[in-house]
């Protein structure tokens, strides 16, 4: 095998360290060193062909409608030792519990606002705050059955939460397909190492969705915007794995306060909608009147408690970047605990002193739009030219409330197969948390990797790839 390019000394690498290799990667590295380049290359081609044939693709916005692309898949897994995962899992449970408490609170008594922990106007006038949710009681007070939390590691290897995804987090299908692919390509690795399984995720998801409803045997559906949506593959995949119908808005209708789907044997009532459509498009009679994706009348049925939406309406206010800085305070306020997982330090530009600091140190910081997603509308200070810096300075002065800033993070790296051989590339981790009658996680999550050298942008829409994520159950043998 060709040598693995050394990681940069000031960064944390998942596999390699000063002493050579991290203990949990030892067995894998040994295997890798004994595997000829030609074999790896052949496996890589095989994976590519298979993914394309399975149609595991995503659509890219802004390109010709229906352009389907493969998300590059990297053969070298990201490995997490059991002890680390236990810590992460505790932190995630804590965080998701607090976020859910926050959502219930702001749509009911608003204690956290009255206690002055978060400025009321920042919540109440937030466009993601849904007035329609005020006073609505959800079974089990469960707002966020499905959460994806983006984690990164700094140069010491400490984990930080970069972002919570409480609306329609995607990527879990890649987690599952990546595992399937790795087991197909390298069965010998799985025989030798105790990799915690993830394949039961769809079962857990179905249980979670069913438990969100009070109905006896609830009818669950997955609601997709349709096959041109970037994540259509995932919608179809999850529906199939759970054995539930994959519906589009036009398949559903509202009558007498309930939601029905049109079937070949007549209307059938729907109890739980795992919706992969944003709030604004759910009901053209209540929100965006031009939306063709939603179900007219859905909001009335939902507010009457005759159908469950997963996730609930209005969860976006809790993962908004302007609210993110307050999550540690939520954990203290609702749970009376110290956060197990830390936030990335964040300057809230609507605060005058923060804005001043940000303008002063722009070339060191990452500036993000509070409502942006997918790595768009973002400034990476150290990589920006003077012109771009000036543009952002102006944007910040014009509308400071629209931005937050964070230090440039040195995301950890992981050896990755690239054209030049095997080299370190930056990665993050998105574990998926399912909240029903209890909180459940499958070990690991989706590891995204920025394939361009030095790049910190892991989003698939901007050239990111994925890796299989292994949580090793015991000591590697």
């Amino acid at each position: 095998m060709t040598a693995i390019e050394k990681p940069a000394p000031h960064l944390y690498d998942e596999m390699l360290c000063n002493e050579g290799v991290h203990e949990h990667y030892r067995a894998y590295l040994q295997w890798l060193e004994n595997t000829p380049d030609a074999t790896l290359e052949q496996k890589r081609r095989e994976a590519d062909t298979l993914f394309r044939r399975f149609g595991i693709t995503f659509n890219v916005y802004g390109e010709e409608e229906g352009t389907e692309r493969l998300i590059p898949f990297d053969l070298i897994p990201r490995i997490i030792p059991a002890s680390e995962w236990t810590h992460l899992e505790r932190g995630l449970r804590q965080r998701v519990t607090a976020l859910n408490r926050f959502l219930h609170d702001i749509y009911h008594d608003q204690e956290i606002l009255r206690a002055g922990i978060i400025p009321a106007d920042q919540v109440l006038t937030n466009q993601q705050f849904q007035v329609a949710m005020l006073g609505v009681d959800l079974p089990g007070h469960n707002y966020i059955p499905i959460t994806g939390v983006d984690l990164i590691r700094d140069s010491d290897g400490e984990y930080f939460v970069l972002e919570d995804n409480l609306r329609t987090p995607s990527g879990v299908s890649y987690m599952l397909e990546n595992r399937k692919m790795m087991m197909r390509l390298f069965p010998e690795l799985f025989l030798a190492q105790g990799v915690a399984p993830v394949e039961h995720y769809p079962n857990l998801l179905l249980e979670t969705l069913q438990s969100a409803s009070d109905a006896d045997s609830p009818c669950v559906v997955v609601l997709t915007p349709g096959r041109y949506n970037s994540a259509f593959f995932e919608h179809a995949f999850l529906a199939q794995q759970m054995g539930v119908p994959l519906v589009e808005g036009a398949d559903l209708f509202v009558r007498n306060g309930c939601v029905f789907m049109r079937t070949t044997t007549g209307p059938r009532q729907v109890h739980v909608i795992y919706r992969r459509i944003d709030d604004a498009f759910l009901d053209p009679l209540a929100f965006n009147p031009d939306s063709m994706l939603g179900v007219p009348g859905l909001l009335s049925a939902y507010r009457d408690g005759n159908v469950i939406l997963a996730n609930a309406l209005g969860t976006g206010v809790a993962d908004d970047k302007s609210i993110y800085p307050y999550v540690p305070d939520m954990i203290r306020f609702y749970l009376d605990e110290e956060p197990i997982l830390n936030n990335v330090p964040t300057w809230v530009c609507r605060r005058e002193e923060d804005l001043a600091y940000v303008l002063e140190h722009l070339e060191e910081l990452v500036v993000k739009e509070v409502h942006g997603a997918g790595g768009y509308g973002m400034l990476i200070g150290p990589k920006a030219g003077p012109e771009e810096l000036d543009t952002f300075r102006q944007l910040l002065r014009d509308n400071p409330a629209n931005y937050i800033a964070q230090p440039t993070l040195c995301l950890s790296t992981c050896p990755t197969m690239v054209n030049e051989g095997i080299a370190p590339r930056h990665i993050d981790l998105r574990p998926f948390v399912l909240s029903g009658s209890e909180i459940k996680l499958v070990p690991g999550g989706l590891t995204r990797v920025a394939l361009r050298e030095g790049s910190l942008v892991v989003n698939s829409s901007q050239g990111g790839g994925t890796k299989d994520t292994w949580v090793l159950e015991g000591a590697p043998c």
Binding site: Q110, A120, D121, L124, T125, Q127, F129, V131, A132, L134, G135, F253, V254, R255, N256, G257, P284, L285, A286, P289, P296, G297, L299, S300, R303, D304
Partner: protein
């Protein structure tokens, strides 16, 4: 004042509609300012009654059978209190009505216009009298004229246009209030404009000042609602509109709507007059 209402909305479609659904906010709720004597809503299809986000009565009406048209009729009578009765209900935090929406965003010109109505004391909010001034200035700046704007027009569109109807007046007023930091909301309902049989489906605004919701009817230059029967309120027209629907099929649509608002004691008098006339006619015919 007793008002009697007869409000008919008639949709006809070029081709068959296979399925349609409407959100109807056509049922007034009793409050300090209005007492509902009787009310009846006549709609086709299956109807489900509930309360919407803002506590308005909402009827969801689904028609499953193929149809060529829909007729919705609201009829009833109400006693309107002579004195202004500001509502102090704050089940929904008033700050919610500081939110902007696509229809109520301010333009540079609007901000320029509203700037003059800021409270003089930097710490204080503008009070009710300032909003009354704002209302009068607004009507002067954007006189009432129909046909210049349409239902989709935003506050900024109408302000640029220079003319508007009650919907536009209300949107502009609300947008300015919110920009001044005063919660404000859109109200739909009926107004009795004095002359009988006036087309009277109407819109006005409410603003949260002095810890209560006060009415501002810009188009009529009224800072009270003692000629008004309120149906619903919301962030903007889309939230409070009496009829909002979606249909499958149907091609082009034509809508006819009329609302008769009559003062009841006067109507009774007119009926008596008519009967007398008829009696006289009959007598003359017999002779």
């Amino acid at each position: 004042m007793k008002l009697s209402i007869d409000h008919v909305t008639d949709f006809t479609y070029d081709t068959e509609v296979t399925h349609s659904i409407q959100y109807l906010r056509l049922t007034p709720l009793p409050s300090a300012g209005q007492q509902i004597l009787q009310w009846h809503l006549d709609v086709p299809g299956s109807v489900h009654r509930t309360l919407d986000t803002y506590g308005n009565v909402l009827h969801v009406c689904t028609v499953d059978q193929p149809h060529q048209g829909i007729t919705i009729r609201a009829q009833g009578s109400a006693e309107i209190s002579e004195d202004e009765q500001p509502e102090s209900d704050n089940r929904i935090p008033p700050e919610v009505f500081l939110r902007t929406s696509p229809l109520t965003q301010t333009s540079d010109a609007m901000r320029e216009f509203a700037r003059g109505f800021r409270a003089t004391n930097a710490d204080a909010q503008a009070g009710r009298h300032q909003l009354i001034e704002l209302m009068s200035a607004l009507l002067e700046r954007i006189p009432y004229r129909s046909g210049m704007t349409h239902v989709q027009s935003s506050a900024a569109d109408a302000f640029a246009q220079g003319f508007g109807v009650c919907q536009d007046h209300s949107h502009i007023f609300i947008a300015c209030c919110r920009w001044l930091g005063i919660p404000a909301r859109y109200v739909s309902g009926y107004v009795h404009a004095g002359d009988d049989q006036h087309i009277a489906s109407h819109a006005w605004a409410e603003a949260w000042v002095e810890n209560a919701w006060h009415s501002f009817d810009v188009s009529n230059g009224l800072s009270s609602s003692n000629h008004h029967l309120k149906l619903a309120h919301g962030i903007d027209y889309l939230d409070a509109s009496p009829v909002r629907g979606v249909r499958w099929g149907g091609g082009a649509e034509s809508m006819r709507t009329y609302a008769l608002v009559d003062q009841m004691d006067r109507r009774a008098a007119r009926l008596r007059d008519k009967q007398k006339d008829r009696l006289q006619e009959q007598q003359q015919a017999q002779q």
